[in-house]
């Protein structure tokens, strides 16, 4: 038994070694119980069978006799029929009892609740064994005796007497209702159905604490209620029960809002949630499980509000998971966002993704004060950081953003260039930017760039361009080249840009394209003209 117990303590229940030990134990019980029962007496360090020690140990802490003895168990009786499952339950119960310091749950209670059919135990208990309660019994007896003596003289007064069964509304009351017929079967079955989902005791406990907090008349009571809420919330966090936790915190916040001058006391509940290790565990389990729990975790972190910002930024820096990054960024950019001074120190972090995330935060907060800090990041060695920086600069949308973005049009990374040109299109920058843009489109390698980049540049050119861009675009859709023909997509994007520009000269160029021998070119030209006409009609 000791062996099986050790095995269970140190190996998970499905581990082969633990399993093997259980088989052995069940076999041993089978042999020992073949002719009836086995009664073992328990002392601090041994188990004895008919005065004969069968197990002795000096290692008190980990030993079965000690665990049994400590909880008052003085003997164990095993009965024939004890199978493997029961043996497993017994060993599990012993294991649970070992954690008793944490759980305040004694072995006797565990065994009592498990109610193993082939195991009996004897508990030493002065209360129930007589000595100390003998006085009580004697008192009780003499009190009852006195009562009965008095009764002989008691004045008996007739009291109202009713046939209570009338009020039961039974179908056929008859003259006598029998025990067993009072509650109709349907009502019992209905009740059974209601009992099925176990009462949500944690939620109920939370509500009770909130009621007490809301109606308390002294700070002492409020503090006890807040402590209870703290304990409940941190337990829920530990178990990862975020749905319940979020609900509890929302309700707590609602109560807090009505508490007036006592509201500060409640802060402890929220501050108790700022436990880095537990939050990290929640994030890690989200990363392991996929995006399913994202909303839950986001909702929870949002309730913590500003007070969690510093910790969440730390977690953002330390965690690499995609899901957790999404959640943290969502939470940090909600509402007014994070204060600049929490983000700026990490902008120069050597890890590219840290810098990228900080740049992202700055962009989402749209705080112009961030601009001077973003500019150096635009020269970051990692294109992913530069790209994010271009996006953030565009998002902040200051006048000072334009030259910065224009400079990025010649960035060595196509991805960065695309972001920059798109952001510029959005910002409607002053005319001088157009020449920077034309310079890029005119560049000798432009036609060899990716379709996406060509798309972005020509789209932006269409939005920002005027007559000065028409000759270049006209040249591009014709596709003439000394070296090799221009790709079709470039020709079509150029036609689209002409349609967007829509001036007289642009329309002339489009009309010429209607006569192209290429079917696709003709179609795009028609579309471009239609777009140009639409714009003109709209502007009139």
């Amino acid at each position: 038994m000791q062996k099986a117990y050790r095995a269970i303590r140190f190996y998970p229940p499905d581990h082969p070694l633990a399993n093997h030990c259980l088989d052995e134990l069940a076999g041993a019980f089978d042999r020992a119980l073949a002719d009836g029962t086995l009664r073992l007496a328990v002392s601090e360090n041994s188990l004895t069978y008919e005065e004969e020690p069968v197990f002795t140990t000096d290692d008190l802490r980990e030993s079965i006799p000690f665990i049994l003895f400590r909880d008052g168990i003085r003997s164990l009786t095993f009965r024939n029929g004890l199978g493997r499952d029961e043996a497993a339950e017994l060993i599990e119960a012993l294991g649970q009892a070992q954690e008793v310091d944490k759980a305040d749950h004694d072995l006797v209670t565990i065994l009592w609740e498990r109610n193993l059919p082939h195991l009996e135990y004897q508990v030493a208990d002065p209360l129930l064994e007589g000595e100390s309660s003998a006085d009580g019994l004697r008192q009780l007896a003499s009190q009852l005796q006195g009562k009965l003596e008095e009764e002989k003289r008691a004045r008996l007064v007739r009291t109202p007497h009713a046939d209570l069964t009338e009020s039961l509304e039974l179908d056929a009351p008859g003259d006598e209702v029998l025990v067993g017929n009072v509650v109709p079967e349907e009502e019992l079955i209905q009740l059974e159905r209601e009992l099925e989902p176990e009462q949500d005791i944690l939620a109920e406990f939370g509500i009770v604490l909130l009621e007490i907090l809301a109606n308390a008349t002294s700070d002492e009571d409020r503090i006890v209620a807040v402590r209870g809420l703290e304990d409940l919330a941190s337990s829920l966090l530990e178990w990862g029960d975020l749905a319940r936790l979020t609900h509890l915190l929302q309700e707590t916040a609602a109560v807090q809002a009505d508490l007036g001058e006592h509201a500060d006391l409640v802060d402890d509940v929220f501050e108790g949630m700022l436990d880095k290790e537990r939050l990290r565990a929640s994030l890690d389990s989200l990363d392991a499980a996929g995006p399913g729990g994202r909303q839950e975790l986001t909702a929870f972190l949002l309730i913590l509000g500003e007070r969690a910002h510093r910790l969440l930024i730390e977690l953002l820096i330390e965690s690499g998971g995609k899901q957790s990054r999404h959640v943290l960024l969502d939470v940090l950019t909600a509402g007014a966002g994070v204060p600049l001074e929490l983000v700026l120190p990490h902008l120069g972090d050597p890890r590219w993704y840290v810098a990228r995330n900080m740049v992202y935060l700055l962009g989402r907060m749209k705080d112009p004060r961030a601009m001077p800090h973003l500019e150096p990041v635009l020269a970051h060695s990692d294109e992913r950081v530069r790209k994010e920086a271009a996006r953030s600069v565009g998002a902040i949308g200051e006048r000072s953003s334009v030259p910065v973005l224009a400079a990025l049009l010649s960035d060595p990374s196509p991805a960065v260039r695309v972001v920059a040109v798109r952001q510029l299109g959005r910002l409607r920058p002053p005319a001088e930017v157009l020449s920077r843009l034309l310079l890029q489109v005119r560049a000798r390698d432009f036609s060899t760039r990716s379709e996406g980049e060509i798309d972005a540049f020509l789209d932006t050119l269409g939005q920002l361009g005027d007559d000065s861009a028409v000759p270049l675009l006209d040249e591009l859709w014709r596709g003439r080249s000394f070296f090799r023909p221009k790709p079709l997509h470039l020709r079509l994007f150029a036609l689209r840009a002409l349609g967007q520009i829509g001036t007289a000269s642009a329309r002339q160029s489009l009309s010429r394209a209607l006569r192209s021998s290429d079917n696709a070119v003709r179609r795009q030209a028609r579309r471009g003209l239609w777009e140009a006409n639409r714009q003109e009609a709209a502007s009139q």
Binding site: N80, G81, K102, D104, H105, V108, T109, W112, E113, N115, P117, H118, Q122, D125, L127, L128, E129, S133, G136, L137, A141, S142, Q145, K147, E151, K152, A154, R155, L156, V157, R158, T159, P160, H161, E176, L178, V179, E185, E187, L188, I189, L191, E192, L195, I201, L202, E204, I207, V208, L209, E211, I212, N215, A216, R227, E230, D231, S234, S235, V255
Partner: protein, 495 residues
């Protein structure tokens, strides 16, 4: 307590096996029906046919054993969960097995209608020599497919389960808790659990003995007997709801601690013989909140203490959410809260209090519950409570049609009329005799019925203990059996 996480406890409920549950249910119904009708009755035939159908569908080719161990029903080594709708039938089955000292019955494939009829008939007969006698009769009948098995454990009862001792231990532990809380120490939970577990064990073992103990009111301190009585009544109700042992243990603990908060209310207010002023009433109404605060200050929170905390808060909140404390967010009362509310109100109004001139009789107590069923109390629970204690609950002093006066000692058993409890004669006739009002004479008529409910000295009731242990105790038993010196010619019954 702060910083201590709440300990989640693993659930280990017995399996909810549908076929097995149906089998036991039908066996129990067949047994009960056979007990009330003669073997040729159509209801008996129908019930046996239902049982055999279940056996033949599921156990056509293998034997099936139905047995009782530790007051739990097993089918082929699988422990069954008993729902509220099974409770009375299964209890009848267990009582019958107990009476014969029978461990179980094995049914072999091919068991026949006639065999079932004879074995059920025999089981319903009076037992004189237990299993030996039953087995002899079974042999004589030549039963081939039904085997009776012995119980696995000898039926020696551990001393801890004796009702009077259990009750007295409750009072002791209550006293200890009061001191502990007053001195701001932690409650010794193990000790408390030993006692609440003994209450549950005792109720599972012999319900009426412990139920009869709830007629002890106001011994030493009102709070001690009240807490104990509410615990007993609550667990007895919970048992009828089919709670497993662990849930019963939690319920017992919650009920036992429900008025813990009263320890913080000044005794002068609790026992004030005159009308309370609004300030004093407000102080009393704080006690559910005090209960929560006191329990929170205890070291550990686990499933059991959480349930006790919630129930402690709820026990003066009615089903319709009236009562106290005042609520702002809570919109329902938990099942534990509803159970304790019923038990608490019943015990409170049937106990003598200094501020009341007359105490209600137990009969008026259940009537009060019925009158407020659906508003203050959960209707199903009220009905179960009535079924549990009968129309004249233990302790009620009743005038009989025969002219005798008796005190109710045990509620009517399943199948008996609600208004026909077992009583002990206290005046007139042969004082000390025990009469079962459900008994019939040779003509099939009830020789005695209750014709009046009496209130002795405005105390509402008399203590009326029952059970072998109490009767063997000596002084009390002797006292009760003692002849009343001068039985009055006419009952001193006043209007």
């Amino acid at each position: 307590m702060s910083g201590q996480p709440i300990t989640p406890l693993p659930r280990c409920d017995a399996a909810a096996r549908e076929d097995e549950r149906r089998l036991v249910h039908r066996l129990a119904v067949a047994l009960r029906t056979t007990g009330f009708h003669d073997p040729g009755n159509t209801a008996v035939q129908g019930a046996i046919a239902e049982f055999l159908r279940t056996v033949r569908t599921r156990w056509a080719h293998e034997q099936v054993w139905v047995g009782v161990r530790n007051r739990c029903v097993f089918v082929n080594d699988e422990r069954l969960r008993i729902g509220p709708s099974d409770y009375l039938n299964v209890r009848y089955l267990m009582d019958t097995f107990d009476r014969w000292n029978l461990g179980g019955i094995t049914f072999q494939p091919g068991v026949r209608d006639a065999e079932m009829r004879s074995v059920l008939y025999e089981l319903n007969q009076k037992s004189e020599r237990g299993l030996e006698e039953l087995a002899a009769r079974a042999r004589a009948l030549g039963l081939k497919h039904v085997e009776l098995t012995e119980p696995e454990r000898e039926s020696e009862e551990p001393a801890a389960h004796l009702p009077l001792r259990t009750y007295s231990a409750c009072l002791d532990v209550c006293r200890e808790i009061q001191e502990t809380v007053r001195e701001h120490r932690h409650i010794r939970t193990r000790r408390l659990r030993r006692v609440t577990q003994a209450v549950v064990d005792q109720l599972l073992e012999d319900e009426s003995a412990l139920l009869s103990m709830t007629t002890i009111k106001e011994f030493d301190d009102y709070l001690f007997t009240h807490s104990t009585n509410v615990a007993i009544l609550s667990v007895a109700l919970g048992q009828r709801l089919g709670f497993d042992k662990r849930t019963l243990g939690d319920l017992c603990l919650a009920a036992f601690l429900h008025d813990l908060g009263k320890i913080l209310v000044p005794k002068g207010i609790l026992e004030k013989p005159t009308q309370l002023d609004p300030g004093e009433r407000a102080q009393i109404q704080q006690h559910p909140i005090h209960a929560v605060i006191l329990l929170l200050e205890q070291e550990q929170l686990n499933q059991s203490t959480l349930r006790a905390i919630v129930a402690g808060f709820e026990h003066h909140i009615n089903l319709d959410l009236s009562g106290y404390p005042r609520l702002t967010r809570k919109n329902s009362v938990t099942l534990f809260g509803r159970i304790i509310c019923v038990a608490d109100r019943y015990d409170a109004i049937t106990t003598r209090r200094s501020y009341r001139k007359t105490t209600s009789t137990p009969h008026e107590g259940v009537r009060f519950l019925l009158e407020h069923s659906g508003t203050q109390f959960e209707p199903v629970l009220v009905k179960l409570f009535l079924e549990m204690l009968g129309v004249y609950p233990p302790g009620t002093v009743v005038g009989l049609s025969s002219g005798e006066v008796g005190v109710v000692r045990r509620p009517p058993l399943p199948g008996s009329a609600l208004s026909r409890p077992q009583i002990r004669v206290v005046r007139g006739g042969d004082p000390g005799t025990i009469l079962d009002l459900a008994d019939r004479d040779a003509a099939g008529k009830h020789p005695r019925s209750v014709v009046a409910v009496l209130n002795p000295d405005d105390d509402g009731q008399l203590p009326a203990l029952c059970g072998a242990e109490i009767e063997a105790l000596g002084p009390i038993g002797a006292m009760i059996a003692e002849e009343v010196p001068d039985p009055p010619a006419r009952l001193p019954v006043a209007r």
